[in-house]
């Protein structure tokens, strides 16, 4: 069963030096489970803010953030932490990995929060690394990996505990075209083969073309939603 996301009249305002900046303005947005979404929009339009709200990293000022059957606005800090551990995998633009841990140990990190034996953790982490094609780099430290490999380890970590939702904030922002394409193909595969709900922020139309649907955000309001399912499938 895949998880849908329902944003109901969400407002988020930042205050800076007495000035109020309304980043999300009574936003309404429904996202179906098991779909790969790209989120686009000009810089400062509130993409990261929205992603953080859906990932339970930040609180909305008003409105409801429904992920699956959970209303995140009703959860407190430690409940949110636990919810994140069970339901979301994050991929950020860069420096996703803890530098002192090996690739395998980085991937095992979220599994420490699950009731697994040491062996189960190891096996699950290795399976995730195999899935992203890094079975021969498991014992490398992040600084011994290329940027693309690092992002693939980050993806392995995001899927290690088998969450239903993957949130990625410009995951290919630092990568060259070919490397970016392989990472995007990987995300696409996770969506198609494992039925993950993916929300990926990107500035790059070509990256967005890997997604099934492209959401456009502008000044805290929802713009159009493009459906490129037909194009992407072919």
């Amino acid at each position: 069963m895949s998880t849908s996301i329902d944003i109901r009249s969400v407002t988020k305002t930042y205050h800076r030096g007495g000035e109020a900046l309304r980043v999300l303005d009574e936003l309404e947005l429904q996202m179906a489970g098991g779909t790969f979404y790209a989120l686009m929009g000009p810089s400062g339009s509130g993409k990261t803010t929205l992603l953080n709200l859906i990932g339970g990293l930040d609180h909305a000022d008003s409105g409801e953030v429904l992920v699956g059957d959970e209303d995140l606005t009703q959860l407190d800090g430690s409940a949110l932490a636990q919810w994140r551990a069970e339901n979301v995998g994050f991929i950020f633009q860069g420096f996703n990995l803890l530098p002192v841990l090996s690739a395998r140990e980085n991937v095992e990190l979220p599994l420490l929060l699950a009731p697994l034996s040491k062996r189960q953790r190891r096996e699950q982490a290795e399976r995730a690394l195999e899935l992203v094609g890094l079975q021969d780099r498991m014992d490398h430290k992040p600084r011994e990996l290329s940027g693309g490999q690092e992002q693939r380890v980050a993806i392995a970590r995001a899927i290690a505990s088998d969450p239903q939702i993957i949130l990625a904030d410009e995951p290919t922002g630092d990568l060259d075209r070919t490397t970016a394409d392989s990472v995007l193909e990987l995300l696409q595969r996770l969506n198609r083969e494992l039925d993950k709900t993916i929300l990926m922020v990107t500035h790059d139309p070509q990256a967005a073309s890997y997604a099934g649907k492209v959401i456009h955000l502008d000044k805290g309001k929802l713009g159009r939603i493009d459906d490129n399912t037909a194009a992407a499938r072919n």
Partner: protein, 389 residues
């Protein structure tokens, strides 16, 4: 708790960790040494016998008293025995750097007045019988490999022999002291031998007595004896100051200047400096890990876990420092003891000293970890990722 991450964080900066561990180790070592010194000095004072009084010149310990005083004091009620002590200040030429004290004493009253001294070799009778005999402490015997029956040459500095040679003392016994107020490396010889040599012109030097020890009968009020003796020589030729042995030891210790307080002050200042150095290091380490902590929180680790990660790191580093410091202290205890035994016979690490060192290290670790830990707990992922991302 991701223990592996905690250890890796420590190992990830080997230089920084080693330096921090090193400074904590130095601090703990310092605490152990200083504590042992002050405790040792204190126990020297408190181990003093209650039934012994000491009479010295009211001017200074370095001014001798006339020989005739003994006769006069013998009449004071409550005094059971008197033993002269005269500082000889000689040197054993074979060991230029070594220092130990020699005293001329009265052989007839010495033994009964100092029950804490027992002979482990030789005999007191031989010592009494032989005019040039001496008693030596076990540490002296060990250090120079001196045995009973051997003659040891001591060069006089205050008392020079007219033939220009060294004084020769025959070792008649080796003693052991059960009290920290008497060390294990003193040489005692006949006061009379020195006195007679001076009288006969065999040697030159000041004649007199440095200190008279008065042993009181049981039940005697020391204050009244003190007053009587002090009053007796009120009008000279030398005014005296009579003190309990404890007070005398205290004065002797403070002759070194107020070493204990000075040491403690310096030690306290060093501890303070090291505390801030460790705190600063941990705050830096915490800042460096801002992004790591943000990522961990995004993954689902709680504020508490991320804070504990920093506290744990700090406590771990400081505990390692404490372990190294205590180990170093234990290894160096013996050499230190040997070096200081002539003026702090009771120098030793007790359990409390080690516990104190460990407690200071743990406290430092805890506080130094809590400061960045507190910040880590309040940091939100969003802030953490924006700060460096």
């Amino acid at each position: 708790m991701p223990w592996k991450l905690l250890f890796r964080n420590v190992l990830g900066h080997p230089m920084r960790s080693v330096l921090t561990i090193g400074s904590v180790a130095v601090a703990v070592f310092l605490v152990c040494i200083l504590h042992a010194v002050t405790a040792g000095l204190r126990s020297t004072v408190s181990a003093a016998s209650a039934d012994r009084l000491l009479v010295q010149s009211a001017v200074s310990l370095f001014v001798d008293l006339p020989l005739s005083y003994q006769q006069k004091m013998a009449g004071v009620p409550g005094i059971e025995a008197i033993c002269k002590w005269q500082w000889f200040g000689g040197r054993y030429e074979q060991d230029k750097g070594g220092f130990f004290q020699q005293f001329g004493i009265d052989t007839d009253t010495f033994r009964t007045s100092y029950p804490e001294i027992s002979l482990i070799d030789g005999s007191y009778e031989e010592f009494v019988k032989n005019r040039t005999a001496c008693l030596i402490g076990t540490e002296l015997a060990e250090k120079y490999d001196w045995r009973v029956g051997q003659t040891v040459p001591i060069t006089g500095t205050i008392y020079q022999r007219t033939d220009g040679k060294a004084w020769e003392f025959l070792v008649a016994g080796i003693y052991e002291s059960s009290s920290p107020s008497i060390d294990q490396q003193t040489l005692w010889f006949h006061f009379d031998y020195l006195h007679e040599s001076l009288e006969a012109g065999g040697a030159s030097g000041p004649e007199g007595v440095g200190v008279y020890m008065l042993r009181m009968a049981k039940g005697t009020d020391p204050i009244s004896v003190q007053r009587t003796v002090d009053a007796m020589f009120e009008n000279g030729p030398q005014r005296v100051n009579t003190t309990t042995e404890a007070e005398f030891n205290r004065q002797f210790v403070s002759m070194l200047g107020d070493v204990p307080s000075l040491l403690q002050m310096v030690g306290g200042a060093v501890l303070f400096a090291i505390f801030f150095a460790v705190l600063n290091t941990m705050i830096m380490a915490g800042r460096e890990r801002t992004r790591d902590l943000g990522i961990m929180k995004a993954i689902g680790f709680t504020d508490r876990t991320t804070a504990l990660l920093l506290v744990g790191e700090s406590v771990l580093v400081c505990s390692l420092g404490a372990a190294v410091g205590i180990l170093g202290g234990l290894l160096l205890e013996k050499p230190f003891q040997a070096a200081m035994s002539s003026f702090i016979p009771a120098f030793a690490f007790d359990k409390n000293t080690l516990l104190l060192g460990a407690a200071i290290a743990l406290g430092t670790g805890l506080i130094s970890g809590l400061v960045p830990g507190w910040r880590a707990a309040r940091l939100t992922t969003v802030q953490a990722l924006r700060e460096v991302g």
